[in-house]
């Protein structure tokens, strides 16, 4: 999985491309988010537009990132999950856990609240 990071004020947008699955994508996601919080970043927007799918390990890592953010008094939100990824979030009821956006500007503004 490829990762690109962009900063907008206090918010880091993480563009993910590939699949979040056991052994590779989940590890990359964990290390990326851990590094951001270690660097003192607190607000993270994960852009899932380029994520083709996740497996249960990838879904679990998303939840772990959410918990990590809470532990660090940060916030982690989702942007543009593809149809397959969003279906998985709905199936697992995690659409009720994650704040999810389809528009980046709206997502960025939401961190000001």
């Amino acid at each position: 999985m490829k990762v690109t990071k962009r900063e907008y004020g206090d918010v880091t947008v993480v563009d993910l491309k590939g699949k979040i699955t056991i052994g590779r994508g989940d590890v990359v996601l964990r290390e990326t988010v851990e590094q951001l919080f270690d660097e003192g970043r607190r607000d993270v927007l994960l852009n899932l537009a380029g994520v083709s799918y996740m497996d249960s390990a990838g879904i679990g890592e998303l939840v772990a990132c959410h918990k990590r953010a809470k532990d660090k008094n940060g916030r982690l939100k989702l942007l543009n999950p593809s149809g397959k990824v969003y279906d998985l979030l709905q199936l697992t009821k995690l659409d009720e856990v994650f704040e999810t956006f389809t528009d980046e500007k709206t997502a960025l503004v939401s961190f000001n609240n």
């Binding site: 699955t21 799918y53 249960s56 939840v63």
Partner: protein, 140 residues
Amino acid sequence: MSGKPQVQVVVGSRVEYVDALHAVAEEMAKLAGLPEDEGFHFALAIREAATNAVTHGNGQDPAKQVTLSFALDGGALMAIICDQGEGFNFEGAADPRLPENRFKTSGRGLLLMRSFVDEVTYQHLPGKGTEVRLVKRLAN
């Protein structure tokens, strides 16, 4: 379903091999003529069963094997995943959709399997391992 395995893949218990088993499942879905979305779901269900076998069943012991077999007959595509572990408790798995379980970082594999194929059955064979069968019925 009585068909003998028509495709069989055997791998050591390494997480890296789950992708390979997933790829074979995708090809079997195409051979069975499943529509794209159903094929995606079928292969993801197999991936979850394979991950369980590698990690929970065999504890990622590379000396222990995971065997994935497919049988395709007129009415269904069946996959059988066997490990060589001590077994794990399917019945005891908590529903990850319940509010009290939503923040758990594991325990969603069985939900995905049950959601994406028509039948999931399993049996532990003492001294041999666990066998999980997933059946996807094919449209006429």
